[in-house]
Structure formats: structure tokens, C-alpha cells
């Protein structure tokens, strides 16, 4: 099995960095999921698509814009009207949808290579992300599981909150190294560890 190459490799330095003399306040990592899919429902077919997602992954998406859910290994969230990102640690998730999302419901697009997933976790995760995005990261406004679509310096990003102080960020692969460097740079102030 050929291993996928990470776009972050030359800039991925495990260990503590920045102002960490008093400890690190965020932990950065690349989650490297095996599957990243984008699912889109035709107007009026959103519920059927959500049912299909449940059928294929066991993830029950809540109603409402940006609603999402994660069970640790798999995650799903809405990022636009009728559109969802579904992620799995394992490869091959697209195949699980092949008979479930029919042409009458919508489409499935495999972006497993096209997006890079980074995780920021820790007490200062919200603080660091506030440097990048005009998004309210407070827990009541951005609950666990929920997703948001936004941009940073021309870089389109989808963000899912996967813990009280943990966020997974999906960016285009070609921008990923640039974004990672910026994320590390922004985290220097609070001290960060790359895992």
C-alpha cells in the first residue's frame, strides 16, 4: 500500500514551539483521515441525504445550518445549504455511499486527496483561530459537532468543532502548507506542540 504524502511534511516539526516556557496552550496536528467526502442534496432531498449519511456512517446529523456530529472516528457536518462534509479515519468511504446516495438524492464527491485536515486543540484554540476567522468560536455559538465555512487570506476553510476546545480544519491541499505555517506562526504566542 502506497502511503499518501502529506503536503505539510517539510514544515511539520513535532515537539514544542513558540512561547512554551510555561507550557503549551494549543496542540496542532494533521489528522490525515482516509476519506473526505462532499455530499450534496438536490433541493428538497436534504433529509434523504442525511438519512443516507446515517445509513452509511451511523452519524445522525442534527437539523439546522452548520449542524454536525462526530464520534471520533467519523464526522459529518453541513457546510452549505444541502451540502455536507463527511470524514472517516478509514479509506474507501465513497464506496459505502455508492448505492445509498442515488442520483435522485444528490451527489458524492471524493475529496480525500484534495483537502488536508488539521486539528487545533487546547485552552487557547479559540484564541488562535480568532486571529484567522471572523467566526464566533464560543461554545454556545459554535457547539460541538457543528461546522462552518469561511476563508482566511483567500484560503477556503471548513471548520468542525470536535471537542470543547478542539477544532478540525479542512483546507485545499495546495494551500495546506501555507495555512499550516500561518497556524504555527499564530500559535507561537501561546506556546504550541505539534503532535
Amino acid at each position: 500500500m502506497v502511503e499518501r504524502q502529506s503536503p505539510l511534511e517539510p514544515e511539520y516539526y513535532p515537539g514544542s514551539h513558540g512561547n512554551f516556557e510555561h507550557g503549551v496552550d494549543v496542540i496542532l496536528s494533521e489528522t490525515r483521515p482516509g476519506s473526505i467526502l462532499q455530499l450534496a442534496a438536490w433541493p428538497g432531498e436534504e433529509k434523504r441525504l442525511m438519512s443516507a449519511i446515517y445509513k452509511a456512517t451511523g452519524l445522525a446529523l442534527p437539523d439546522g445550518a452548520g449542524g454536525g456530529v462526530t464520534d471520533g472516528a467519523r464526522s459529518a457536518f453541513g457546510f452549505a445549504p444541502g451540502k455536507f462534509t463527511v470524514v472517516d479515519e478509514a479509506e474507501g468511504l465513497a464506496a459505502a455511499f455508492s448505492g445509498v446516495v442515488t442520483p435522485a438524492i444528490g451527489t458524492v464527491t471524493d475529496l480525500s486527496h484534495g483537502r488536508t485536515a488539521m486539528r487545533i486543540a487546547g485552552p487557547k484554540a479559540e484564541w488562535v483561530l480568532a486571529k484567522f476567522f471572523a467566526i464566533d468560536f464560543a461554545l454556545p455559538a459554535f457547539p460541538i459537532g457543528a461546522g462552518r465555512s469561511t476563508t482566511h487570506h483567500d484560503v477556503f476553510a471548513q471548520i468542525q468543532r470536535t471537542g470543547a476546545d478542539q477544532f478540525d480544519i479542512y483546507v485545499f491541499r495546495s494551500f495546506a502548507r501555507s495555512f499550516w505555517k500561518a497556524l504555527c506562526h499564530a500559535s507561537e504566542e501561546v506556546g504550541y506542540e505539534v503532535q
Partner: protein, 997 residues
Amino acid sequence: MSPRRTETGGRIDRLRTIRFTFDGTPYTGYAGDTLASALLANGVTLFGRSFKYHRPRGVLTAGVEEPNALVTVLRGEVREPNIAATMVEIYDGLVAVSQNRFPSLAWDVNAINQLGGKILSAGFYYKTFMGPVIGPLKGTRFWMFCEHFIRRAAGLGRAGTAADPERYERMNAFCDVLVVGSGPAGLMAARAAADQGQRVILCELEPHFGGSANWSGETIDGTPVADWAARAVGQLEGHDNVRLLPRTTVWGYYDGNTLAALERVTDHKEAPAKGEPRHRYWAIRAKSVVLATGSFERPLVFPGNDRPCVMLAHAAERYANEFGVLPGDRIALFTNNDSAYRSALALKSAGAAIVAIIDVRQDLSSEMRKLATDAEAEILSGHAVVSTEGGKALSGLKVQRFDMVSGALTGDARSIHADCLLMSGGWSPTIHLASQAGARAEWDAARQAFLPPKPTQKWVGAGAFIGSFSTAEAIAEGRAAGLSAAGATGAPTALPVVDAAPGDPDPAPVFEIKAKGKSFVDFQHDVTAEDVRLAHREGFVSVEHLKRYTTLGMATDQGKSSNVPGLAIMAEALGKPIPEVGTTRFRPPYSAVSIGSLAAERFGDLKPERLTPMHDWHIANGATMYSAGLWYRPMIYGLAGETIEQAYVREAKATRDSAGIVDVSTLGKIAVQGPDAAELLDRVYTNMFSTLAVGKARYGLMLREDGLAFDDGTTWRLGEQNFLMTTTTANASKVMQHLEYFLDVIWPELKVTVTSVTDEWAGAAIGGPKARAILAACVKGTAVDNVTLPFMGIVHGKIADVPVMICRLSFSGEMAFEVYSGAGYGTHVWEALIEAGKPFGLVTYGLEALGTMRIEKGHVTGAEIDGRTTARDLHLDWMLSKKKPFIGSAMMDREGLIAPDRLQLVGLVSLDNRPLNGGAHIVEELDEANPHGSIGHITACCYSPALGKHIALALVSGGKARHGTRAFVSDPLRNRFGPIEIVSNHFYDPDGSRMHG
């Protein structure tokens, strides 16, 4: 330790001595001092020179509104000019220098400007440089001659040229209630809102929260108000729902309750911690805002009011109470209101002698008389200061009897010996943010001040900001404002009891004492009362014109202390009441904002860049990269000693001789999926796609709605309802937006999704006579022969155990294939192809060779699809389907778009064997001295290794009709003239035999 420091008192830390320099002289101060308080404590009275007249100036205020004491702070090679000394917190090693003086602050040769008073009045530049003729110099030429000297003589600090190594950041914040200002009103508002469970942000521009509580000397419930404020801050710090931002100036109020703030994070530190930014620009989105920004004390306008040691009354009180510094030993006060009496008492308590209180009002309340008596001050009611004496410090002043109704001065002038004169001309609420957010300010005749307008956005005001100048009012209004902002009413509660000096908040309506001498209105821009009257005499009746003609209020302090006196003087000159004259609208920023904070980190290494999956391989293998938009792509893979031209010629020639491989991952790729995908493609492309078989690709052309060419590329049918569209690299996002727009707005009934999959795929184009053999050597699971993989055919297989998708298409004119793999496998597949190609002489080639071969083949790119050309201009009319409508079809046959003399694509060959240049014009007559008669221009050029000639593509009037004719290239900017032949754009393999094999 110093001549002006009091023995006790102030909130400075007397156990921590700070060492700094001003104009090279070493001084000491205490932690908690500002540069202004520390210099005052050291007996320094001269802080700077004025803008125009170079008059000696001291410190006027104790805060952000300071117009006089502007300094330049040096950090290494970086100099930051025009910083108010009142806002600089001292730290060990601080280096500050004075400005606008030569050779020194004490002895400034340009002080001679003071003698040119009337010449240098308002409108000096207009009058001096618009008309007069002096010898050969007249009008603007005279200005240009003088400009150098004037700019040296007038102005503020000098900006540095060294790169600023500091770090700046942008922060986004959201809250329920933003409280601006942390005086008693702001603290109460923040607490009330926080107690309601609201998310609160409290911004304070000073280093310490508390505002006037830090220096007013009042008590609350028997304890100093400063202690009360400290307790309130402590309580707020204990709230998880409160964010406290000291040293943070809210400088802009924008639509949607979005406010901009600047946090000065490390200006007060010797060195920042690792990763710590110097400034943070906060973009704060607040559901509601409490404005508790307080008020500014106004100067009085009288001759000599700008002399060093003439200061605002509250500023002196603040220096005494907050910093333990007395601005003088023998202090006189000049006032039109009651607040100065409290200041007198505070300074007396701090150890100064109050020699006199000069009050323009004849009738004083018994409370004020008692305060004056307590301060052991002589009361001179119904008097005014008519002049001040001294040089670089005050030595005395003269007063005269004054009738505040008529403004008349009577009787003999009396001299008073004093080393400090404090003035108070009333208070102006700090309404800047409210003004930015909404309507015109409203004049309050009682307060003699502009009060904030009615809110047009969701804000509520409290305290001095709305003209309630007492601490008790601030506390009550602050709580009410906090509750209101939180959408709560709150139960009645016992408010803290304030013990404060009595006083009427309303001043006498006196702004100016008209006596002989320069009376300054705008200290920073050296605008005098006479300048304002001169503007009136010269016809500038509008307040907006007054402002621009005199530059009143246009300095870096934005007229915080000068606007109202200036308006009052103008109103009197016009014979109108102040509200009829009106006021100017405040604009952001409230105070100076660093450009760095606005740029934040969008520069240098932190600019986003796009890298292909094989980027690191290219670098490691000698590629010279250059940027194509945000992408980085190989230009050449140069060998030692090769020039760029030698490298691309070698790469292109080797490709045509054997095979070459190029990274095409940057091509835009869009997944077009759904039952109506083919229908969408038929509508957006000029040619038909619904007839395309699965497993085949087709070259497509898109037009804009106006009928002009938009983009081209191949689209691959991967399934019945599944297409992979490719676009040019540059137009990928434009095409995506184009498709999304039509799907969302024009044809929402089409069941199609479009998804950017540019980054999903790594792409390698391999072309040349040996290309097929190379693929055959490494591809498993499929044949690549002509039957299995015909021109525009698609196959799926594996290379080095990785799934790949191969399409046979060509951009070079050679038989070529595009090999797509998952981006994460891109380098792996690329290396496998390179390895497989070694026996066949495969070379890597960059964009220069790619461009060369496409010019030789005559393919168009963005250089030709430039937004002005049509399909016919580019000889792509064969792609315009007559069987269906498509975007642009309704407009493409307009008369102007089918005219025979339009610029059309041709090829050019240089006949003098010299290079051609992009952008050069084509002319029919060679007239180097007078180039004229352009018939077109070159869009792309190269040396063609295949032809051994310098060739180009060009857009030339008449196009094909000129094939075989001769003309000239005319490029006067690059001094290139010479003969060319106009030929077909298909220089190479015109019949496609090499491409089709």
C-alpha cells in the same frame, strides 16, 4: 528624586525605578509613569516645537488628546514619530526624541517663523504659490522650488525608512455587549451586563481601568474611588463571560455594530515575549454597545495660551493624583466653570501653592468660594488672563477685569507670578464613535457642548459621554446602560454613594479672550483665533470650508480639544448661534492606528501560496520556480551554466525529439455531477457535450454572456452523469463562479453540482514521440495503444501500485497524455514516470518550454483569450454549435464582433532573426522616428527550436487575409524595430500528424 515629584501619592510603583532617555539625556521615572509624567517629574517643561511657528511647547493634557508633546520613539533602527508623550508608558531603555526642531529643542533656528506671523496665516500656501511671479519662477514651479525648504521647516516627526520587524495581528471578537471606556460609567455598565450573563468586552485605552476614578480623589462609600474601581475590575476579572482589554482604543464604529479597536500589546515593554505581537487590531462584532467614553476638557483661547507650563486643569490634577507629580510650585487657574476648583484643591493637597483662581464669571457660588478658600487661593472673579510671560517655561501672567457678556477687558492689567497656569474652558463629551455611527451631533446650550446624536445603531451612552459629568450620575447611568444593552431592566438597587466636590456642570459661554497676541485654537496645527476670523473674512462660511482652509482639527489629534472653541469663534464671526454653524462629522480612526495592525500578517512569508503535489520534487531537482497567480510552477529545470533560453530550448527540443514531462496539476478541475450535468455543459460550452461518450474527452470553449471568449479546456466524461471539467490555471475560480452563478440564479432547476477538485488530482503531462512507450513501460491494468487509448480517450490503470486516470490529449503538438492520480500519490507517480522514462531520454520541462511548444503549435491561452477576442478572432468558430443555444450565442454575432477588420490570431516570424517582444506593435510602415499605424500587437513570443526562428503569436487586423505578407515590429519602448512575416498561427505540425500519431 526630582524637582516635581511629590513625596507620596500616585499609583506609580516607587520601588521600581525606570531609566530612559529623552533627546539623549538620561532620566529616571517610576513604573507606571508615562513619558510625560516622568519628564514633568524631572522638571522638564519643554517637550516640542509647534508645527508652523516653532513655538516652544510643553505638555497640555494627560491623555490621548495631547496636541503639543509629540515625540518620536526609537526602537533600534525603527522610528515611530508623532506619539503623544502622555500615552507612552516608560520602560527601561526607552529612547524618545523631540521633533520638528533644528539643531536642538532648546535652540531651534526655525523659531524665527514666529516673526512671520501674518505671512504664515491661514491660506499661506494658496496665497503664496498660486499667483506670484518671482523671476523665472511662478505658480506651481515656485512651490516646487520652495517645497523642499518648507517641508524641512514645517511639520511633525520624521518617518523612518527601516523595515519594521515587529509583529502585528488581527483578532476577531464577538460579544453581546461591548463597553467602551472603563470609568465609573463603563465599569458599572460592564458589571451590570455581565451579571445578566451577557458576554462582555470592556475596552480601555489607558493601561489601567478606572478612567477618572484613578485621579478624581473622590470617595465612594467612604473609600477612595480608585479603590472602588480596582475592586470592580477585580470582580469583572472573575467573570468567565468578560474579556478585559486594557491599552485598547476603539477607533472605528462601522455598520452592523462592527467596531475596530487597536490593542497596544507590547509598546510598554522592553521586548515582546516570543510570538507576542506589538499591536492587535480587533474587529469586534457586538450585539449592543455601551459608549462610556467620557469627555475632554477644553482649553481657553487667550494670548499665550500655548506657552509651556500652561496646562489643562484636570491634567494637572491627574498628574498629581495618579503620578505624584506637580506641574508647578506656584499655580494659577483660569476657568469658566466649576470643575477647576476641585483641581485647585487637589493640587493644594498635593503640596502646590495655588496663587489665584481667575474666573470669567462675576458671580460665583458659595461652594466654589469655599473650595477656593480651602485651596488658599485668591479669587479673581470677573477676570481673564490676557497674556502669559516666560520663554521655555512660564514665569507669570497678566489678568484684566473681564465682562463675559460683552467680552470687554477693562482696567489695568495685573501681573501674577506663577510657574504654572491651568485652564478649563468646559468639557466636550467624547462623541467620536457615536458620530461615526450615526447622525450629526446635537448642541446643548447649557453644557456648551455637542452631545451625542440619537443612536442609529444599537448603542447606549452613559456618564460624561452624554454630558453627565458627576461620578454619581456616571454610576447610575452606567448601570442602566449595561442593563439596557443586555436587554434587561434589573431590580432597583442601592447605588454606591459618592462623596464629591460640589459643582455646576454648566460653564459660562466664554471660549476666547480677545487681547493682543497669538491665541491658539488648534495647538497642533498652529491655528489661531485670528486665522479663524481671517477665514471668515475671506468668505469661508461653511464649517467644512473653515476646517480645510485653516486646517483646524485636521492634525493627528483630530481637533479633540480645538473643534468646539474654533466653531464658537466662527459662530461669533458669522453672528450665528453655534448650532447653526454646525460641526463636522468625526471619521475613523479616533486616534492614530498603526498601518502594521491593519495589514496584520498578510505579507511576506505569510502570504498564501499554492503548491502542487510535486512542488518539493521540482525544487530538489533544480527547478527554477516562479509564481503563476498564487501557484508556484517550474519555469525551467536549468543545468549548470545554462541561461533560461538555453534551458527551455533544450527542454522543448528534447520533448519533440523523445519525450518530456510537465506538472499540470495547477489546471483548474471541476467535478460536474448530476442528472443534468451534460445539459449544463451544453449550455456553458459553445460546442456539444451531451453527445460525448463515457471514457472520452472533448476540447471546449466558453463564451461570456456578451459573446466574447471566456475560457477553454478539455472536459472528460467519466460517467453518464459525471464529468471532469478542466479550465486554464488562471481562470479556475472564475469558471467555478460562472457555473455556480448560473446554477444558483439562472437555472436552479438543473440538478447539477459543481465541486472544485483541482487539488484532488495530481496531473503530469507526458508528450513526445516516446511518450506512449514510456507509459506502456509503467502502466499496469490497461493498454495504452492507439485502439485502447485513442486521441481524447480515457483509460484507468495503475502506475507503481497507484490508481491513475490517463487521457490522451496534447497541448504541445506531440502525442501526449495527461496522467492523473490522487494528489497524495502525485510525487510517487511522477517519480515512477521519470524512472520509466530514463531509457527513452525523458526530460522534465517547465512553463517556458510549455509556452514555446504551445506557440509553435498555435494554441491559444489567456494571452489571446484576453477578454476582447471572439471565437472567430481566434479561429475557433468551428466550435460554435449551430444546433443549440449557449451562453454568449445570442450576442456573439453582433456587428462589431464579426467585422472583417477585427484583430485576429496570426503567427509572426522575425525576418531579421532577432527576438520579438510581447506587447510590441505591428505596423505596415517602418518609421522609427514616428511609429504609427498599428495593425495589431504580439501576444506571445519565443525562440522556436523546432523552426530555428524567433516567432510569435499576434492579434492583427484582418488576420488570415494577411498570411504571407510582410510588416514590421515596432517597439519603441524597447527600441526594437524590424521586419516580420505574417503567417498561420499553426507553425508546427499543422496537419496534426505528430499529435495523432
